[in-house]
Amino acid sequence: MHETAIAYEIIEIVIAVAKQNRAKRVNQVYIQAGQLRGIVPEQLQMSWEFVVKGSIADKSELYVETIPTEGLCQNCNKTFPVKNYEFKCPYCGSGQVDTVKGLELQVKSMELEFED
């Protein structure tokens, strides 16, 4: 369900960018999704097949790059990978941690086809 809602948002952007570039077709779409977004790539791809139907991006492929979560310790100022959603600094043990990576949700690039 979550992925379908996201897929609808992506297609809006993809159509807008394709039009802006006067493309004939969209062949590939590259997404960056932070781990905390909980996007299951296969689910998003399934939703994608459905939302692109009849659009300029019909039959396009969607690639999802998952960005691992990274924390920044407020106490010792070090960054570290957050494993198992444990927002605790491995260097000083502080739980005062900012999330610096893992919340991304972006259309990174698209492969477009143009009229000859």
Binding site: H2, I13, Q106, S109
Partner: protein
């Protein structure tokens, strides 16, 4: 040809949410986005909040989101509050646009605190900002203490975690310490309040939290 796009997928919604938020700020409406799975007790909790009158010095507004029916709004109608029901039809969450539309049916000038009761769902509502000052997540003791780990974004984004139905604790294997540990592991800054809408336990503490956070934003 490959073209760089670098656009936020939720930009459309985020822009609308930001617009809602500046409208709320301008009118000094303090907005809380209340989320949980279906059946955690959002409506009953809000009902008890109104009934116990700890917020009686504030004019309350409520937007209720459901996929179907106006049952929740009907329950809350008995209290002297402005209320709007949104039926999303298909979407499993509220978004910036729905809230923008719903606000047209509210007299925001006459609201100090607006509760937005989101559609019951621990996933999508966490993704879609509506213009709120804070997100609040409810979890009942009937649901399992592992939920913060299963729905990390929801707990990561919420400023307050309310554990509901604590009167039912003796009948479950729900581990209070474990759930708090799980929530704090994901979000060390979250506040936690135990509540029973049946006995009224924790309702005052919740009302005090609302008042304090409102004061942080508007100074009164």
């Amino acid at each position: 040809m490959k073209v760089q796009v670098l656009r936020e997928i939720l930009e459309f919604n985020n822009d609308l949410a930001a617009k809602n938020r500046s409208g709320f700020d301008e009118k000094h409406v303090f907005v809380l986005n209340i989320m949980s799975s279906p059946g955690a007790g959002k409506t009953t909790f809000l009902e008890r909040t109104l009934k116990d009158e700890f917020l009686k010095d504030y004019r309350i507004g409520i937007i209720v989101g459901d996929i179907q029916t106006t049952l929740d709004a009907e329950k809350l109608e008995a209290y002297n509050v402005q209320i709007v029901q949104i039926n999303t039809g298909v979407p499993c969450h509220l978004d910036g646009k729905m809230i923008n539309n719903a606000c047209k049916d509210l007299e925001l000038d006459k609201i100090d605190i607006l509760f937005i009761e989101n559609v019951g769902n621990l996933v999508c509502p966490a993704e879609f900002r509506v213009g709120e000052h804070h997100k609040v997540v409810l979890l009942s003791v009937c649901e399992g203490d592992d939920k913060p780990l299963k729905y990390p974004l929801m707990f990561h984004e919420s400023s307050l975690f309310i554990i509901t139905k604590i009167d039912m604790l003796p009948y479950t294997d729900f581990d209070m310490e474990k759930v708090k540990q799980n929530a704090l592991q994901i979000n060390n800054r979250t506040d936690i309040i135990n509540v029973s809408a049946k006995t009224g336990e924790g309702i005052k503490e919740w009302a005090d939290w609302v008042k304090a956070r409102r004061k942080d934003v508007f100074g009164s």
